[in-house]
Subunit: 669 residues, 2 copies
Amino acid sequence: MSQATAIKAAPETAVSERDMANAIRALAMDSVQKANSGHPGMPMGMADVATVLFNRFITIDPSKPDWPDRDRFVLSAGHGSMLQYALHYLLGYPDMPISELQRFRQLGSRTAGHPEYGHALGIETTTGPLGQGISTAVGIALAERMLAARHEPELVDHYTYVIAGDGCLQEGISHEAIDLAGHLKLNRLIVLWDDNSISIDGPTPLSTSMDQPARFAAAGWHVQSVDGHDMEAVAEAIESARRSDRPSLIACKTVIGKGAPNLGGSEKTHGAPLGDAEIAATRENIGWVHAPFEVPDELLRAWREVAERGQLARLEWERRLTASPRRAEFESAISGALPDAVFEALSTFRKEHVEKATKVATRKASEMALGAINEATDMTVGGSADLTHSNLTITKGMNRIAPGDYAGRYIHYGIREHGMAAAMNGIALHGGFIPYGGTFLCFADYARGAMRLSALMGQRVIYVMTHDSIGLGEDGPTHQPIEHLAMLRATPNLNVFRPADIIETAECWELALKSENRPSVLVLSRQNLPMLRQAHTDEKVSARGAYLLREPAGHRAVTLIATGSEVEIAVSAAERLHAEHGIAAAVVSMPSWELFEEQDDEYRRAVLGSAPRVAVEAAARLGWDRWIGDNGVFVGMTGFGASAPAPDLYRHFAITPEAVAEAARKLVI
Amino acid sequence: MSQATAIKAAPETAVSERDMANAIRALAMDSVQKANSGHPGMPMGMADVATVLFNRFITIDPSKPDWPDRDRFVLSAGHGSMLQYALHYLLGYPDMPISELQRFRQLGSRTAGHPEYGHALGIETTTGPLGQGISTAVGIALAERMLAARHEPELVDHYTYVIAGDGCLQEGISHEAIDLAGHLKLNRLIVLWDDNSISIDGPTPLSTSMDQPARFAAAGWHVQSVDGHDMEAVAEAIESARRSDRPSLIACKTVIGKGAPNLGGSEKTHGAPLGDAEIAATRENIGWVHAPFEVPDELLRAWREVAERGQLARLEWERRLTASPRRAEFESAISGALPDAVFEALSTFRKEHVEKATKVATRKASEMALGAINEATDMTVGGSADLTHSNLTITKGMNRIAPGDYAGRYIHYGIREHGMAAAMNGIALHGGFIPYGGTFLCFADYARGAMRLSALMGQRVIYVMTHDSIGLGEDGPTHQPIEHLAMLRATPNLNVFRPADIIETAECWELALKSENRPSVLVLSRQNLPMLRQAHTDEKVSARGAYLLREPAGHRAVTLIATGSEVEIAVSAAERLHAEHGIAAAVVSMPSWELFEEQDDEYRRAVLGSAPRVAVEAAARLGWDRWIGDNGVFVGMTGFGASAPAPDLYRHFAITPEAVAEAARKLVI
């Protein structure tokens, strides 16, 4: 076990650890100054802590940054990105030469304003929106324990370290995250809190009196407080945290902008360059005689030795992997590739249910499809924000993850939608698993911050969002989504699937599983829906985003477009138009706007047709004009919902076959 | 002071308090059974606590439910709505006869699935999405202290009582709320936690190990734990909470579904009817011999006496109001009507800046307009989620609200966007103030849950959301909104204003202040923008949502539509089209889609014109097809942003006068 050999004392080098930290301070203040934008205070304040952490504890290998058993480092206080970039330069990440630091916050540089996953090597997750890093880290630390439970400890045995600021700990999401981590006893998670008592508006007592150590203790965490500039004390605390059987908080009392003689300790260092005069005074004060962006060789050597030790650990791990009887399984899980059996099972599933014409709610269809998926692979890890038996996210034989027991594959996330989404991001980022989790579509609101990061990071996270309209019924307007489909569809790099029946549901599940670089939202009904497909096809037509579900006998006079539970209404309206008025209406099912948008013009024109169009969706109109065109009609919601049984609501809001047929008839005559 | 006379012992009545509680139990289980939908477990579990609270402490008057100095009761665990409806029937609210309980959760009844503000008398706030009630109550309790600080204590002196469940306390928003309340020492806030150890998925230890009392203590709260079925103990705890100098948590250990002999204590009572057999067994068990929806007269009398005591207190208060020298000011504040001076000041402001052609960022324009507004009225209460000097929400002479000192009018909400939004809802609901608060537009994500409730409840809450596009620059994609305008525009009953210059900004502020039944979002730029209006008009043209800002000399060949910071780009493109190609381009500024949608067809057609259209907005396209039509072109964002100086980003994403002009030229030729 590489971790057991961790060294508490600083490795012997020709330079002092304080000088190593001062290199971070100088790089941070000079880069921010050159960019004339950024946050020098945090990197300068946390330079000592970060130096101890990286110099004595963290095992990473910049020459192979994605080595699976590396320690994970998450800069939750992402505005302090220069701390990470300075470290990456000092440690010798191949994509982080000094010229990148000189291009901090410039177009096309690797040194973005906040650390962006995929933008530079070694960045484990995108941070910046406060509280996301610490919450994502909970998922990373959980995935580590889960993967360790499945494989030998010699293959999976690493820590997740987080540097978090006051902002991270004030955000609500941090509550959800620390409660979950404390409950699950994620002892490989160590949070170093930059306790500098400064936020943007000024001293933190302007807005908070929270006793953070007591708060974390209440959540079951191991808690320590240290002087963040006393390097031995920091090392001792980290050592002790690593031995704890619980997640650890180390409150590091620091001075923001430490080293700056006049501005240190002030919010003025938080988000603005120090200015040339203060930078010169800081150089004097910390004894840093080197020019901007110059780090003397001996200091650089000391930092590169950290990387070399990491490389040795990585090579040792690779030898263990080669020798391991579990190598194939491990590598397969890490690759993220699903076995063909999953897709074969889904194909069989679709055939079977076309034949049976199974009529179930799409949430039930999702559960049934998941039954097939989860039997064919153990890479999927399910969960729900306390709506397991409403979202129908658990399938036969899934054991729950429990405190200290990580062998299961179902997570009771609690009433924590935002924490669930962030944890799923962490699980996906860690590797080895495909996370999916459920809540009501309306509560996508609560998870928005983390869902956006799923999309921005291109992670295969699957959101199972049920009770997707007024069809939810009696719970009323607070639980009935209206604007949520528009909100999700407007989000870049996010698949939004609203399947109409059990067949589309299975197809959409397959599309979500195959979207390796994009999160998906499955938008599912509470109420039963008939099977609408007329025959099995090997082609998964949902993959085209929209398709002609019903072609009329004669020349198309009108096209009815719908999604999800309203496709049934459109089909019924088409039948009525034909029977009562002799009007030939085509019905288009449109489970995914994003995928339809990606089709070529010819296909899209063929599906939409040149006849007038009516769209029906029990949601806000916003966005639908793209598909119905200048003369189209939209049948849907114009305000909030109401509390009543679902059929009453559909009638009350006039989202019915009669209303759709009438709208179509008026368009045609 | 009405509160000082509170009685701890139960008033003497012919019936026992336990019987009074059993009336709640019976009404709840019978109503849920009749509806075949709802949550009986919570009302049955908390019936004893609620009975003590209402019978001995709460001062309300069902005959005048909006009496300003009433105590506020917030059912944060809104799914237990039958608790509230049963109480309202028993207390004799005039709109809550027994027939309404018999129509629980039916279309058009007052007894919606969750308590809806405005839907039945005496409901202080809409609850249901967990955590909102307790967080809104923080705003209510704060408004009480602020109003008391402005007026005599004999006019404002009431408590805010909350019943919260496990779900409320697991949600992240609760952290933001209790941290803020503890910090501000809101001692009139008393939270009764239904500590029943059951959530929907099962026993709470499935997902949490939080020591809630310790957590609240860490936030500076006064904390007690009692047996929630020991009525004397509950009364003692409430008495003690009322004397505390801090907000109070009373953990009430209860049995969910208390009274049901077989299902009590189980999650099965949480969200489903008990069933006829268990209801019969419960009747037997609690000795309730009455038919469904029958409450014996003597019990009803005991409950109605509570209302009568409240009425006496209200009449006493009215006498104090009549005698008060501050009556006029107090009534004016409560009315919510702004003095004319505010709008006169804004008119002067607009004249002045048209003349000066002031070029400032719209966030700066907002600060300047706020300067005029805040000088003309003290009803506005500002704040920011720790971005005061970025959102520019504080104006000269605004003192901050501090722990124990509520005379100011600026709130440092901390890094708590969701908590801020909920608190603003509470301040608006309480009355006496118009709250506005700032954050970056991107972090509307964090506040979504509460913003939706602002809209659903129709509250005049004003969101000041700055840094509204890639124009934010170096902070990068995590801070650059893309889908947020679509998300907000799709939300019913929400004004979304994106003004283009200082004049539109002042107009939009006026529109927001005058929207008494609708929240507004002011979407503002970080970067400077020129004044575009060519002359002062008394008409506030922004009120029409969109208008012709520039009419071309000749026949309109193309229409360029833009909002906010992109209007400058459209104007410049129009000039270029004229100069380089002789193409006559009109420019439409469209600060509010909602208000434009409300105009008549004729006006809309006149503005949009029949020429081809190009829209430009540095955001997602979703929704724009409504305005550009079948052949229109959209110039905007197609994915996430990037980190770089703003001018570089506009060029990089080709949102420039050149690109707009080129798109228009291609449309026209």
